[in-house]
Symmetry: C2
Subunit: 190 residues, 2 copies
């Protein structure tokens, strides 16, 4: 029997991404976003919900671009910091000891210290209420050298992604429980 | 120095949700979705990208509703199964041994066996290319009894969420690395 918790923004798991933009004065800024996910395969798109009034909201509209930076688990304090303060008052890159790299593809900076980043041009947007859903077309994924898996792609243990919990804690990704597009085959009735 | 991987649908972490709908004949169906995330706070919204042509795509449009079911890590094989086969040929609830519960709030079934579920009415949608982004307004979150944390909310260890990896493996959520809205305070310069 299930218990009603009411209408809430709750989902498992949640990400904790750093969204990189240039503000109206051209200064590099980041914000933390948990309201986000992949949205489409062709073109590859990432959607990020950002509250109207946030500096990043106006920055995305001005530059029609943003980056999505995937932190590793050792960067939880930086991610938390970037969600606690505003780029209107703070130089978050400088205070967090991060390096802004100018994207050659879009008018936005990415975070050199994050193991994997996505460079996105603003593709579509949708007003939802408190938040605008910005859909970015992923023009490129960039990853640190040495993260490759022997089987192709990236090695999850080396990427060491950060996971956010609806309860408010940051976590590492834990042990594997099965191979996708494989473990479900046993359930297919002949 | 970062290496370019090209335009890819890659993000860390990814979810693996079960989307519940009634098909055009009123039969309960589920599909697996990793292209999804929270999109807005007021109203609380979840966005799910679904490929045109999928049974779930037409079912959402017909019923203007869907559920999002958050599996636990022991349900990885079921989640994988639901992504391997189509509800056009299969009764996925029956084959996976799942129970469809009729939502009292929306015209969609939820999965009794998933620890936490969200009942969504279709709020807005956006055509992106291969996928339509369906934005559901969360009318209620329902959770199994006994999942509560002593501090309020749900206990992550009891929910035991399933995480999907861009490389194709299912994982558990791992060890905690800090408290949100807290560990970042140490980085704020006075």
């Amino acid at each position: 029997m299930k218990k009603s918790l009411g209408p809430k923004t709750l989902a498992y798991p949640l990400p904790a991404y750093l969204i990189g933009t240039y503000d109206l004065n051209g200064r590099a800024n980041i914000m933390t976003a948990a309201w986000a996910g992949i949205a489409c395969s062709e073109p590859p798109c990432l959607a990020v919900g950002i509250r109207a009034g946030r500096l990043t909201h106006e920055s995305i509209i001005k530059n029609q671009a943003f980056t999505v930076n995937f932190p590793n688990s050792s960067q939880a304090a930086i991610v938390d910091f970037a969600g606690l303060v505003s780029g209107r008052q703070r130089d978050k890159f400088a205070e967090a000891g991060l390096t802004a790299v100018d994207s050659a593809l879009v008018k936005a900076p990415y975070v050199a210290e994050c193991p994997v980043v996505a460079e996105c041009r603003l593709y579509k947007s949708l007003e939802l209420g408190s938040h605008t859903l910005f859909v970015g077309e992923i023009l490129d994924i960039k990853a640190d050298e040495g993260l490759e898996s022997p089987n192709g792609g990236l090695d999850l243990a080396k990427v060491d992604p950060l996971v956010f919990n609806s309860g408010g804690q940051y976590h590492k990704v834990g042990s594997g429980v099965g191979q996708g597009f494989s473990i479900g085959k046993a359930l297919i009735k002949k």
